[in-house]
Symmetry: C2
Subunit: 699 residues, 2 copies
């Protein structure tokens, strides 16, 4: 994480006048006020403007993405964070000769306010009155002579590029591809190295399927869709397809990827990696990997395939943006190649190399096969979640005891301790992402990560939210719980309970196969909606198997309504189930479990209709004193009782084996059966008041 803050230092902000243009929507620093968390980016912005003038462009767009359209990019690729100071995972920076503005979504508003350089305008996407990038540029460049808007085609998805292009055209402006990227030109000092970590072949006993079988299935899908070539540019896709893992992405997330690209054809497979000659023969670093890459891929030491190979072999080539683009050009010009399969997430430069009539765009077969986990992967996900819960229980019981005893715990120290405890669990390979360890008002910042400036003490007076996860050889975890070690206010209790009710609603949901996540997202929001509240983030994201903590293409989110890559929820997919509620400046509550989508048996059935449901694989108890059982339905309470019983059985057993009796007792206390021991009925005028008397006792 530390490289992210290397270039950032505390500044004295100066006032400026943009706020008057759109009061309430734009965030500015107070005149002369010392804002310790903000970044001085004026030298970066000034350097960029110099390059813009040389290129004769009136504005430059700096997106979040890397060449691979990764959601989380390595430090080397954090161009937008470098230029703006804001290091959330989503956001687009736009710089003109006189202004600099950053567009981001609801869940990042507070973070952006905290981090953005003081001379930046925060554009709150989807809020009323906030212009789009293009509308703003139309206004900004109206009186300017330089009407071209520059952008590097390597770092935009094709559809994003097209959208920018069309929308700018409507403003009388034009997008101009700029190569090399201008941020790359100015970002010379203190830039992290291009990642280049050891690649470990991933054992079959964890992967569940050999890369040869995966390639076979991918080729079958290619044949079905008449594709002569498949371009694989997403890093989780190459890692999954070839059963290899590394540690190239380290920062907000620890995605076990290696920078790579691939082309699959009916009779050949090419893989592009950095420093291939070293990596092919290097000894694997992971103790569970017992062959080197050369052996794993049946490749010669220079990456070429033996001519007489009777086994499937991957040709390994050197990774470079420019040479890959040139190879695509050759492929596209090859008359025998009629149809090239691209993902929606290919960058514009890749897309642009291929004639429109040869392009076939859809989620790649790699993405679709990967998202529906095989039996070994499903078992691995289930198993690692139990070990992960054990680590979290040891952590939570220790933290509670410590905080109540007045020990000095902070967001950072707690996060560090949790990382240490996870590392003690079998097969752990580090955290899956930097823990969102957030106390009190920091917990209202949805994707907050603590740093030395923001680090806050954890006390019994404030909510403490910990959103964390681990990478394990047999799977990836992501779990959130919220704690409050005092009696809650009735509002806090109601919020916690309704967040839980929403989570349970989704966990219990049954629906017809074919629905998209966006079509069931509202089930999780209903308990909050009923009292006028909601959360400004999706309810669930996909999750990989020892891969990305955010895995596409499916999602459970109403924001996702119109994305062409969205796919229906299907069996063997894993998603998070994470409703929340955030009270700006005060507290944040989020409860996150991972769920597994599976076919369910129902009382009746209809011909041709398959019913799907979810099984929750995260087994971790809730804070019982924060739950108001009287507003829950019997069905929700029944689900909770089953869940608690399962948690005690599986996680409790492991804790006993690990001799972690404090944690065991901590879990035991929270998994007592909730019993409706009596009921009284009261009839009042035109409505029914039904009061439940609930007793929280051990059954």
């Amino acid at each position: 994480m530390d490289f992210l803050y290397r270039g950032l230092f505390v500044v004295l902000c100066v006032s400026h006048s943009y706020a008057s243009l759109q009061p309430g929507n734009w965030n500015t620093c107070e005149n002369g006020e010392f804002v310790s968390t903000r970044t001085n980016t004026s030298s970066q912005v000034m350097a960029l403007r110099t390059e813009m003038t040389l290129k004769k462009i009136g504005a430059y767009i700096v997106p979040s993405e890397d060449f691979h359209m990764s959601e989380f990019v390595s430090g080397y690729d954090q161009r937008r964070a470098f230029i703006s100071g804001f290091d959330g995972s989503m956001g687009t920076a736009v710089i003109t000769a006189t202004h600099a503005a950053l567009w981001t979504r609801g869940k990042y508003f507070l973070q952006a306010e905290t981090q953005l350089g003081c001379d930046w305008i925060l554009m709150r996407e989807r809020e009323p009155g906030v212009p789009t990038i293009e509308e703003w540029l139309g206004e900004q460049l109206k009186e300017q002579t330089l009407k071209k808007v520059g952008a590097c085609p390597y770092f935009f998805g094709n559809s994003a590029w097209q959208q920018h292009s069309m929308a700018l055209e409507q403003q009388g402006l034009r997008i101009e591809p700029v190569l090399p990227d201008l941020v790359d030109k100015i970002w010379t000092d203190d830039r992290p190295e291009f990642p280049d970590t050891v690649i470990n072949p991933y054992p079959l006993k964890y992967a569940g399927k050999s890369w040869q079988d995966k390639v076979g299935e991918v080729r079958q899908e290619m044949e079905k869709r008449d594709a002569d070539a498949l371009i694989v540019t997403m890093l989780d896709e190459t890692a999954w397809l070839f059963n290899m893992r590394a540690t190239d992405i380290r920062g907000f997330v620890n995605d076990p990827f290696f920078y790579s690209l691939a082309i699959v054809r009916p009779n050949s497979i090419s893989l592009y990696i950095k420093n291939k000659d070293i990596k092919l023969t290097a000894a694997p670093k992971d103790p569970e990997s017992d062959v080197n890459m050369k052996e794993h891929l049946n490749t010669r030491a220079d990456g070429s395939c033996p001519k007489t190979a009777n086994k499937l072999c991957v040709t390994v080539k050197e990774y470079s943006y420019d040479t890959f683009i040139m190879e695509l050009d050759a492929l596209a010009r090859n008359a025998s190649v009629k149809r090239i399969w691209l993902s929606y997430f290919c960058n514009y430069a890749v897309y642009n190399m291929i004639d429109e009539d040869k392009i076939f765009v859809d989620n790649t077969p790699v993405a679709m096969l990967k998202t529906q986990k095989n039996d070994v992967e499903v078992q691995g996900m289930t198993n690692c979640h139990i070990r992960d819960a054990a680590a979290l229980a040891i952590f939570a019981s220790k933290l509670e005891k410590g905080v109540k005893a007045g020990e000095e715990w902070t967001e950072l120290s707690a996060s560090k301790e949790l990382t240490r405890l996870r590392s003690l669990q079998d097969l752990n390979r580090g955290d899956s992402f930097a823990s969102i360890s957030s106390s009190g008002s920091n917990a209202a910042i949805i994707h907050y990560f603590p740093n030395n400036q923001t680090d806050r003490r954890i006390t019994a007076d404030e909510t403490y939210l910990i959103d964390s996860g681990g990478q394990y050889l047999d799977g990836t975890t992501d779990v959130t719980r919220t704690f409050l070690w005092r009696e809650p206010t009735s509002f806090e209790k109601e919020c916690y309970t309704r967040v839980l009710m929403g989570q349970i609603n989704l966990a219990m949901a049954i629906w017809t196969k074919g629905l998209f996540g966006r079509e069931i997202d509202a089930w999780a929001r209903q308990p909050l909606f009923d009292i006028g509240l909601t959360y400004k983030h999706g309810t669930g994201h996909g999750i990989g198997h020892y891969l990305s903590v955010h895995e596409g293409p499916g999602r459970i989110s109403n924001y996702h309504a119109k994305f062409e890559w969205d796919v229906p929820l299907a069996e063997h997919m894993f998603y998070s189930d994470e409703p929340g509620y955030y009270e700006d400046g005060k507290f944040g509550i989020r409860l996150e479990n991972i769920v597994y989508v599976k076919k369910v048996e129902t009382k009746y059935s209809m011909k041709g209709v398959t019913m799907l449901g979810m099984e929750t694989v995260t087994l971790f108890p809730y804070e019982t004193h924060l739950i108001d059982y009287t507003i829950m339905s019997e069905k929700q309470i029944s689900w909770l009782n089953d869940y608690n019983a399962m948690t005690l059985e599986k996680v409790g057993k492991l804790l006993k084996e690990q001799d972690a009796m404090d944690a065991y007792k901590w879990i035991e206390k929270r998994t007592k059966k909730v019993v409706i021991s009596g009921a009284a009925t009261l009839l009042v005028s035109n409505c029914i008041l039904y009061s439940l008397m609930l007793v929280d006792l051990l059954w």
Copy 2:
């Protein structure tokens, strides 16, 4: 309705061999079996094939739509019904030299099976293994020399045309615009006349806003979006915008429209109607209309505007497809016209007249203003639903008494009686659509309309479903109830109850403004999903105010997931709330109310977040002996009690005024308060069984 069946007669079906191509998906007549409901379309198809040969085209596509992209078209425009025999509102017929096939959706499968000509293949859209039109044509025309696929550009929406065009190209085929339409060429005998009914100016006291004010608001929206011209081609839009009604569309639906087109510009308004010279000065037919069209529109007798007009005036021109297209051509060539606003529902011919760079496509401001009803319209909708419920109560009580007494009631005679009873209510202007009056297995045909061949007796042994509505000067209604005058089986009772629970779920729903109907549709399905059931239609459609019974652009439907014209649910919109369950060949249950979307007060609120909810304006009771209260939540029962109290108060009062005491008592019996009079709790092993003892008594 009768013209629809004019050309259709009973046939002896002959076998054919297509079924072997795709067994299970294609419907064919049994060899030699006498199928009384099917249509012999072989002479039509043969005549069409002759025209196809002359035009050198290998296939011809006949869609459902008219020039205006109406969902329900007049008899004159029922080209697809004429050629195929299937007269449901959605479906596309495709004819090649050797085969004829019809694509339609789930809710029409049974109807299509019943009606389609015997030599037609039924293509069940979205079912596994069923090819798309283009895939099928690719296969069918593979060996043929004629590779062109003909279609008339007047009867395809622009995006449908583009989609056909692209998908055919992928099959190596090409779409060919054919003018005039080939069905128009062959359909000479027994064709209904082009509709040409009297146009009645619609009084301000019902419209709530003058056409001048509406034009003013439309122009404001045009200015906001920089549009120099707005093309209005939807028939409900011209009717709403100019405050005029007629009876041009009579058939499945009685949409009070007149065939018309309009062009709104900043300084002129043109309206195209049939036989303008007669209609402008004709006396209105509706007793509530007190001016003629000329006076209403401030127009001279020839439709021209007085040069010195100080009042807004509409220039009225003669309606003709070809002249309208030519006028668009002139408009598009006018250099001062920079941006022309088209609806998503313009036909391809209209779209094609205008240069791509001048086109601005979005829902028209007419559509968007129309869908959010003004206060007078809201009050009118509320009022007419009470009168409509009174008519339905008189009908239902009479029918129940009659059926139980062994009287001879059939679907058609019941439907006719209901029409008569509605007509006795104040301001009624006929039915809003042909009643779906369906008994027993016919009720499983979702959009069934009875005819002489299918008419079935209504008995106490079978479910009877009546989906009907009225047009009233102050609004449009659409209501469905299902009856069963015997003790239900436990399955029937559970289905009825869960359909009701779904309807209540939606009626009680609260959500954040900005959600689309597709995002809350699943709430209505949840009670059915839980036991493995669903319904193959949307949950809700918009409804007009003395306009269409199906009004766009919004909908509450998960089928609607990807339509670009879909709009979020917003205040002042009216939708239907109509879950159902259909057991093929046995019974059908549907419960339909109309709901009004409005802002709701909630316990808490969030800055910038508006919560929306629904108010049910249909007030009609349910069949209490079909409800299993023990599976309903207290909240649902409480909603039902409130609803029943309101129904008795409002509809009961009117029935008393109308001296309809049988109906009053019928309603009274069904609106008794449901009381949870006691409760017992039983704890069983790991789950909670909570049994409600329910007493259905008058409070």
